[in-house]
Symmetry: C2
């Protein structure tokens, strides 16, 4: 039991799956949940994901040696401010946010002296579903968790968060905050924006019902991420604005080149672009189960 009392703020897909994985690993004493949605918390207790819940943040972190904040990025600052005074002296605080610069800034601003016990982390795992009912213990197995270490960070806190994620079956890797935010903008944030935007484009068309009725497997997979939580992804767009705009600019340039090739009926240029993409995608899949 290297975690005596775990406090999970936000018992959704990620927070709930982390609780399940740590309970399965047998490394956790009591697990206390907290969140805005009481019925979700009651479900979490019924499912055995958490032992009990609190609806007041200060009570939820009381006596906890590990506090995981698993809420949308726009809510991080308010939570840090609300828990600060109630944290135990050595309580480790970590998060699971999909962008790191904004969380680090919020933690620096609102955690005060406790900031050195804050360890920014991001598990590269998830599904398009939300809420504790969608959580499962295996979500992080063989997935990566990125920790973005800070110069002020307490080494014991870092080691504890790293060990915790290893207990879920994940590989823990390190990266700078800036690099994390750029890499995730490319592999995750941009695809989400494109999927949302495409589905919205089709939904706005007069013939949208007919269009969707003829969509097949390729469309279903391409747009799966457009079923993700709008609030969570809104916050990611705000939090990682700079890196996302940079990636959008790159993408738009390349799409303009492809569009031009289609307009000119330039079969060779089109095939070259598609061939390069296929090679990169097939190569990516060699290392993963695709």
């Amino acid at each position: 039991m290297f975690i005596q009392r775990l406090s999970i703020i936000g018992v959704g897909l990620i927070g709930g799956s982390l609780a399940r994985a740590l309970r399965r690993a047998g490394v956790c004493g009591e697990i206390v949940g907290c969140g805005r949605n009481r019925s979700n918390l009651e479900t979490a207790v019924e499912l055995g994901v958490i032992d009990r819940y609190e609806t007041v943040l200060a009570s939820a972190v009381d006596g906890a040696d590990m506090v995981i904040v698993a809420v949308p990025l726009g809510s991080m600052g308010g939570i840090f401010a609300a828990i600060r005074e109630a944290l135990s002296v050595n309580a480790v605080v970590s998060d699971v946010g999909s962008a790191k610069a904004s969380v680090v800034e919020d933690a620096r601003q609102y955690l005060g002296e406790h900031f050195r016990y804050f360890v920014p982390a991001h598990p590269i795992a998830g599904t398009e579903k939300s809420g504790v009912a969608a959580s499962f213990a295996e979500l992080f197995e063989r997935r990566r968790v990125i920790i973005t270490p800070l110069s002020e960070m307490d080494l014991g806190a870092y080691a504890k968060v790293s060990a915790m994620w290893k207990c879920t079956g994940a590989d823990v890797v390190e990266m700078s905050v800036e690099r994390h935010d750029r890499v995730l903008a490319a592999t995750s944030h941009l695809p989400h924006l494109l999927a949302y935007s495409l589905v919205d484009t089709l939904a706005q068309m007069e013939t949208s019902t007919e269009i969707f009725s003829f969509a097949a497997g390729g469309f279903r997979d391409f747009t799966r991420i457009a079923s993700s939580s709008p609030r969570m992804w809104r916050d990611i767009c705000v939090a990682n604005q700079r890196a996302i705009l940079e990636m959008l600019a790159h993408f738009n340039e390349d799409l303009a080149v492809l569009t031009d090739a289609v307009r000119c009926g330039d079969a060779d240029r089109i095939e070259k672009i598609f061939g390069r993409a296929k090679a990169a995608r097939d190569n990516f899949c060699e290392d993963k189960v695709c």
Copy 2:
């Protein structure tokens, strides 16, 4: 046995799966394959997908009462021209192309008097894989096959193609050529272009190896279609140019609106777009297994 001899020109994923499905249904006498790649044809015989193969097109359609042309769109015209003289008097000719106007034009130009036995069809099914080894008899089960009837079309030919597809477990629906090409541009062609373009953008970046190594499930699904055949999709872009450019223009307008909202940090506008898309995508999934 309502098909005595089936000739499949292009024994790949679609042609091979059709042969398997018809053989399983027991509605087909002999199945003769033809294609450019002899080793693929030998595999097709070994797998029992076809009974025998010919490498000369005229021989492949000799005595066939049903000829299915399952090749990339850019190769249709040449094949129609090469088989025309060798077709039996009442042989039905059909295709599986992902765009229909260009195939109809090619058939009209190259099939001569036999054009009235040509039935344009498109099964809305597939995977990102190519070749006969990827084919399977269940590919068309509960999927739609669109037939785009022509005014000159022989009704017996139409009925035979429709009955053939029903034997694979597919639902056959009718649509005009123009509508087919617009609907498919929206649900299939545009997503393929975006997936190819995104993967190519990332592959061109200096840090592409690192970027791909941190890609997860969302990225894998979003980009699955970028592993499709570059040649086949090159031909689709050329064949359905007008509808694709129209859809690209719609998409670009909407992406510019979203990009502007991100640039302004307009959380409400971003959430509204994402929310609309999620609702449409969740709604689409209610009818399908997503």
